[in-house]
């Protein structure tokens, strides 16, 4: 179906090669195992496949069928139509890594613009071309810090308010480096906004401190003191950020962090059941030679025209092999393009509007819910962005089960990742939620409580 060969052509080609049959080309494959019978369903035509996938898709209930308050690392933002129209251009999505700059300026310039937008958004000096997602970007930050100290500092300190799956990913990435310990996020560490527990643990063996902003509970904490102390003890700091929040909030660069990473999914990338998303990775300039992943730089061509190329490639695996700090090769090119188009479309005005809408609506929701009998805010005195934690009168999984009947997708059940947070729901609000939606949610919460 996607192979164009006619019978005559096959015959001619075999004759040129000098064999009788296609099977003859596979003589070196162990005979005993050659040409296995694969137990797979018979093929579908495109038309049949389209019907089947429609059926499978309708076995799901998409988030927009509900009023959705689910976030926890993936957010249901509005994606302007123009983003996907551009992403669907074959010139973008059927190209590969721009190894040949003369015929890849489209990809190279769009990555260069992505890098530029990310440095502006974060207030950092340098952005790479992307990592897989926010979690792996955080893990690569640990990797960078480990190599920056040439293995002489072996502690990676993470707070308990960093996304639980990001913490797990950091641990996996560090597993091979046997002397590294990842710690600081144990249950007894808690998540007090004064961060005292974390501060106490930063020492001369700490390579990296990882914090999140806003944190996993949506809280906006002041990390100024923590960063000062970390730097005074020689450690690097990595801030995991939410890009939408940076439409309103002071950027990581102003906190003087060394590395700022985040997931770019909120920037025009569909929920898509968890992936593909976009790992944003930004640093202070002094770490650029330890940076993993692709980098695009500006230069000129032979005629003096401005042009873009992949640069500092000597850092990367295809040159340095076992001496490189990371093995990353393919990254999230098309997702980086989505974020670039999204930020260009919304621009200065639209992006700030989105951030503000998220903030305002979340605060309206928090205020309404906190007035419900049996509900209260878990962190009433701490500022938050577009997610907040409420204590619920019943187990969250039970409430969420019933909320579905009201076509509400309730918030994340924190008890899944935090044994100490029974009856705690993490509620996320985006610009897609209207005041009416929030009022309906509040009503539904009341009803499922009384059921």
């Amino acid at each position: 179906m996607f192979t164009p060969h006619t019978k005559n052509e096959i015959k001619e080609m075999l004759k040129v090669i000098g064999v009788d049959t296609i099977e003859d080309l596979f003589e070196k494959v162990p005979e005993k195992h050659r040409f296995p019978e694969l137990d797979l369903p018979e093929p579908l035509t495109e038309m049949e496949l389209a019907v089947e996938l429609n059926e499978i898709s309708s076995a799901n209930a998409p988030a927009d069928d509900f009023i959705s308050f689910l976030g926890a690392g993936a957010y249901n933002h509005y994606i302007p139509a123009a983003v996907d129209m551009l992403l669907r251009r074959g010139e973008f999505y059927t190209a590969y890594t721009p190894y040949q700059p003369e015929i890849s300026q489209g990809t190279l310039q769009s990555i260069f613009e992505f890098q530029s937008l990310m440095t502006e958004l974060t207030g950092m000096d340098v952005s790479n071309a992307s990592h897989y997602d926010g979690a792996t970007a955080a893990a690569e930050a640990a990797n960078l810090a480990y190599h920056f100290f040439r293995g002489k500092r072996n502690k990676i300190l993470v707070t308990r308010a960093v996304h639980p799956q990001y913490r797990e990913t950091i641990r996996t990435y560090m597993y091979g480096l046997e002397d590294v310990v990842v710690f600081g996020d144990e249950e007894q560490a808690g998540f007090s906004p004064d961060l005292q527990n974390t501060l106490d643990q930063i020492d001369n063996n700490t390579a990296l401190v990882v914090v999140q902003y806003p944190d996993f509970f949506g809280r906006i904490l002041d990390y100024t003191k923590l960063i000062e102390i970390a730097h005074a003890r020689g450690a690097l700091v990595c801030m995991v950020f939410n890009p939408t929040a940076l439409g309103l909030l002071k950027p990581p660069g102003e906190f003087d962090v060394d590395i700022a990473v985040g997931d770019g999914q909120p920037l025009g990338i569909p929920l898509s059941f968890g992936g593909p998303y976009l790992g944003i990775f930004t640093i202070k300039e002094k770490y650029v030679r330890k940076l993993a992943g692709r980098l695009v730089g500006e230069t000129v061509d032979e005629e003096g025209q401005r042009a873009y190329v992949l640069t500092l490639t000597a850092r990367e695996q295809h040159i340095r092999r076992e001496k490189s700090t990371s093995n990353i090769c393919t990254n999230q090119g098309l997702m980086a393009l989505a974020a670039t188009v999204y930020l260009s479309l919304l621009g200065k005005k639209g992006f700030k509007q989105v951030a503000n809408l998220c903030y305002q609506k979340a605060h309206y929701a928090a205020q309404k819910i906190s007035k419900l009998e049996g509900f209260e805010l878990a962190f009433p005195d701490t500022p938050f962005f577009h997610e907040f934690v409420i204590k619920t009168p019943k187990p969250v999984f039970e409430m969420n089960f019933h909320l579905q009947n009201h076509w509400v997708l309730g918030g994340y059940d924190l008890n899944q990742a935090y044994p100490e947070l029974e009856h705690h729901m993490l509620v996320a609000v985006t610009e897609k939620i209207s005041k009416q939606d929030i009022d309906d949610f509040v009503l539904a919460l009341q009803e499922v409580t009384n059921d």
Partner: protein
């Protein structure tokens, strides 16, 4: 031609997509956290569309022409895949929704796991790795944990053939292993004598790409695997070149313990200008519980009235989570669609036509180019992009000149063991006419190399920009465009 950047195009006061005013009472943001300024471009929607459309036209792509980039399997990406993944039921599902509301997604993932297992001969597949390199990391960490659980932690050495992708050694050192390169013999196989000397009790495993990056089937594959197994090591299969083996050989059947799949190579998910990829990993029975989770399982079998019910499983000795959520689901759905459209015969046809195309092209190209390993190839082959009689012509010159003929160059200077390598992978979706045209261009370039070498040195002549100053890019390091104050 060049295009202005989004910031150069920006006009203060212009706006593109905007949003309604808040419909809720105002809550002020604490001043200490408010950012002073965020300078984003100010463009109309049409400005943005024109800008990125212009940029797209500066790109070479599969949809635009022949893209024989060796080892990358630049095959046609079916359009139906793009339509499917945009169905709201797939594109607009949140990863943390209750599993009753995402049974369609879990069905797709479950079937894809089953099908990849059947295609490869492995017992269990995890779909979570984000790309091939991350799949390799999974493999190396599994090897590590396997030896640790078996109380054999002194096994710290990974053998890697000198023809391997750079990701293999990089992955191994990321996983804390010592990397020992394995030489290739004169037929392009792993040198068995060298292998034997390294098969001792410090051996953790071997990473083997088969067919290897020379495009050659490893002729002693079973012997190699046996030697490593006998020494107590595990064998990792780099599945980058699986396109040559669909329906031809199941790597699990010949004894590979672990392998990653590149859905963006073998199973037609688009390369996206450098990702997203997707790198599921398959393992043998003894390693199934080491895989990264979650893995989709059938919790309840269905019957005539009710469909089966799917959920997640986290393996017992798992090396841990590789990323947030479940992998690149959008890529899983495309690969599912691709396999569903092919069936068993269709998959074998892919490999057969990929190998037919490569051998046909190789036969034509070797008339003018040195073929260092002259035997039947699999899905790709490597020639030298240089000749003794014109020593000033390099693989790079040939690559750049190919652009003037309307083609994407092959992978150049890889594998490292071939002098001035040009690594050519035509894929099965190309026609005889395209291959003939490409061979003709290579022949013409071979003639030009002798008759008008300056044409090659100055190539490309017809591209949006000419050869770029890479030294300046690295020396003057400009990684960010001009942004107005």
């Amino acid at each position: 031609m060049t295009e202005k950047t989004v910031y150069e195009l920006s006009q203060p006061g212009r706006s593109g997509v905007t949003f309604p005013d808040p419909d809720v009472p105002n809550t002020p943001l604490p001043e200490s956290f408010a950012r002073e300024d965020l300078v984003l471009p100010e463009l109309s929607e049409l400005d943005v569309i024109r800008h990125f459309t212009t940029l797209s036209k500066l790109n070479y792509s599969i949809d635009g022409g022949f893209y024989p980039l060796g080892s990358c399997t630049m095959k046609y990406n079916p359009k139906i895949n793009e339509q499917i993944v945009r169905l709201p039921g797939l594109a607009n599902t949140h990863p943390l929704q209750p599993i009753v509301s995402i049974q369609g997604n879990l069905y797709i993932m479950y079937q894809l796991q089953e099908w990849l297992q059947e295609i490869s001969g492995f017992q269990t597949v995890s779909l979570t790795p984000a790309a091939g390199a991350q799949g390799e990391l999974v493999g190396a960490l599994i090897i590590k944990k396997f030896h640790q659980i078996n109380e054999d932690p002194k096994r710290n050495k990974i053998l890697i053939p000198d023809s391997a992708h750079g990701t293999n050694p990089a992955t191994s050192s990321m996983s804390g292993f010592k990397v020992v390169p394995m030489p290739s013999d004169e037929r392009g196989n792993v040198d068995l004598e060298a292998l034997k000397t390294e098969c001792d009790d410090s051996l953790a495993g071997l990473m083997l790409t088969n067919p290897n990056t020379l495009g050659l089937f490893e002729e002693n594959v079973e012997t190699v695997i046996d030697l490593v197994h006998d020494a107590g090591g595990l064998v990792y299969g780099d599945g980058a070149n699986l396109n040559a083996l669909l329906g031809i050989l199941r790597p699990g059947d010949v004894g590979f313990d672990i392998m990653h799949f590149n859905l963006h190579k073998t199973f037609s998910t688009p390369h996206g200008g450098g990702g997203p990829g997707s790198g599921p990993v398959g393992v043998s029975e003894q390693l199934a519980e080491f895989l990264p989770g979650p893995i989709v399982i059938m919790i309840e079998e269905g019957d005539e009235d009710t469909p089966p019910f799917y959920g997640f499983h986290y393996p017992r000795y798992s090396i841990g989570r590789m990323k947030a959520f479940y992998g690149h689901f959008g890529m899983h759905a495309r690969a599912y669609a691709y396999i569903a459209m092919h069936g068993p015969e269709g998959l074998r046809n892919i490999a057969e036509k990929a190998v037919l195309n490569a051998n046909y092209l190789m036969t034509k190209v070797k008339e003018d180019y040195v073929l260092p390993y002259d035997r039947t190839c699999m899905h790709e082959f490597v020639v030298e992009g240089a000749w003794k009689d014109v020593p000033k012509i390099h693989a790079l010159d040939i690559s750049k000149r190919l652009m003037d003929y309307g083609f994407h160059p092959p992978t150049n200077y890889f594998p490292l063991i071939v002098h001035e390598a040009l690594m050519i992978e035509p894929t099965e979706t190309e026609s005889k006419q395209t291959l003939d045209a490409f061979a003709k261009a290579l022949k013409a370039i071979a003639n030009e190399a002798r008759e008008a070498p300056e044409v090659l040195h100055q190539a490309p002549h017809t591209t949006p920009v000419r050869r770029c100053d890479e030294v300046k890019a690295a020396r003057d390091l400009v990684l960010c465009c001009w942004i107005p104050d």
